[in-house]
């Protein structure tokens, strides 16, 4: 993309200089190449974007490249007795991560939990987005969207902690049921398990699923639904054959927005899982901060990134049929 923009800018600059030469205004012929380059529009353009470009490189690319580089280095103890990341580039840590039973189990759990969360969030969110888009009067839509986003004005950690308060062993549900005499012992099926994790994360990521689906549903031409019903389809068949395929781009966006961050979620497994259900981010935290193995931690992080990228790409490719239709 950069290359193309640069080419266009250079072409524009050339065109301009030939014009001005024809007009007899430009008398300077030849001269040092760097001096001429500094006069071009391409240079001006690059100079204009360079602060932001530099900022992007420092803030986004540098940490990522560091993690990738660390993943192929090794943890050693320096002469002063401190743990450092040392030079020889090896695949040692990557092999450890990809063959280790612990890492495989925890990565599999992270993927399973975030897939369940994605499924739950998108399935629960779709009817809400559908209701707001199709049944709420136009002047009330923003009020409904506002109502949906209000619970997310508090901190993420506070919300997760409150789910622990609700679902925990001494939590609201258990103590409420105990005090009314419905149960005689606290329920253990609702706390410190994958179900509680999924419920908390499905709550935390709800607006990220509702909003993209709502946007896509809003764009659907209502006359298509009318046409579907005029041609003799039932309401359910119209929904399945018109509304649902047209809303797939939004569903894909929602799936990716929910799936990608939940794989790396750190707070929820720590608080809701009670430390018994660590996910990949907890593993990275243990290696990076507690054990001070930054190379191994980076290797886990890079592996997790690759797996998430692969799963997301496969998901998008499986659904590319619907995405093509949307861009036309």
């Amino acid at each position: 993309m950069w290359k193309k923009a640069f080419q266009i800018a250079t072409a524009c600059a050339k065109l301009r200089s030939t014009k001005s030469m024809a007009g007899g205004q430009l008398t300077m012929s030849g001269g040092a190449a760097p001096a001429r380059f500094s006069q071009t529009e391409a240079f001006k353009g690059l100079r204009l974007i360079s602060p932001t470009l530099l900022y992007c490189l420092i803030v986004m690319a540098a940490p990522l490249l560091t993690v990738v580089l660390y993943a192929f280095m090794t943890d050693t103890v320096s002469e002063t007795g401190q743990k450092i990341v040392a030079w020889p580039l090896t695949f040692e840590n990557m092999v450890t991560v990809w063959t280790g039973k612990v890492y495989q189990t925890i990565m599999a759990r992270s993927l399973m939990v975030s897939m369940l969360v994605t499924l739950a969030t998108v399935l629960l969110a779709f009817p809400v987005a559908y209701y707001v888009s199709f049944y709420v009067p136009a002047h009330r839509k923003s009020l409904w969207l506002f109502l949906i986003t209000i619970p997310f004005w508090t901190s993420y950690v506070v919300r997760v902690f409150l789910w622990k308060v609700i679902l925990g062993y001494n939590g609201v549900i258990n103590s409420g049921l105990l005090s009314t005499g419905i149960i005689s012992e606290p329920l253990q099926a609702i706390n410190y398990n994958v179900g509680a994790l999924v419920m908390t994360l499905a709550h935390a990521y709800a607006p990220f699923a509702i909003l993209p689906i709502f946007v896509v549903l809003e764009k659907i031409d209502r006359s298509l639904l009318e046409a579907g019903q005029d041609l003799g389809e039932s309401r359910i068949m119209t929904f399945l054959r018109v509304t649902l395929p047209l809303s797939v781009p939004g569903i894909i966006a929602a799936v990716l927005i929910v799936f990608i961050p939940t794989v790396g979620d750190y707070v929820t497994p720590d608080l809701i899982g009670g430390g018994k259900l660590p996910m990949i981010a907890n593993m990275i935290e243990v290696q990076m901060l507690k054990q001070n193995n930054r190379a191994l931690g980076s290797a886990i992080a890079v592996s997790a990134m690759l797996i998430v990228a692969a799963v997301s790409i496969i998901f998008v490719l499986l659904n590319r049929r619907y995405l093509k239709g949307a861009s036309r």
């Binding site: 209701y131 619970p151 508090t154 939590g171």
Partner: protein, 54 residues
């Protein structure tokens, strides 16, 4: 109207979204060591804590 089912579902979903937020002020008035029902009402104590009253 066919939308009534969807409407009730959406309201139930909103209750799910608001559940933790509703509990936040409820437990602000709780003066117990553990966060659980029944509430031990000691309204002044938790609100005094940020200002150094213990």
């Amino acid at each position: 109207m066919k939308s009534s089912g969807l409407k009730y579902y959406t309201i139930a979903y909103l209750i799910f979204l608001y559940a933790p937020i509703i509990l936040l002020p409820v437990f602000a008035f709780n003066d117990n060591k553990i966060i659980a029902f029944p509430l031990k009402c000691g309204m002044t104590k938790p609100f005094g804590a940020p200002f150094g009253h213990r």
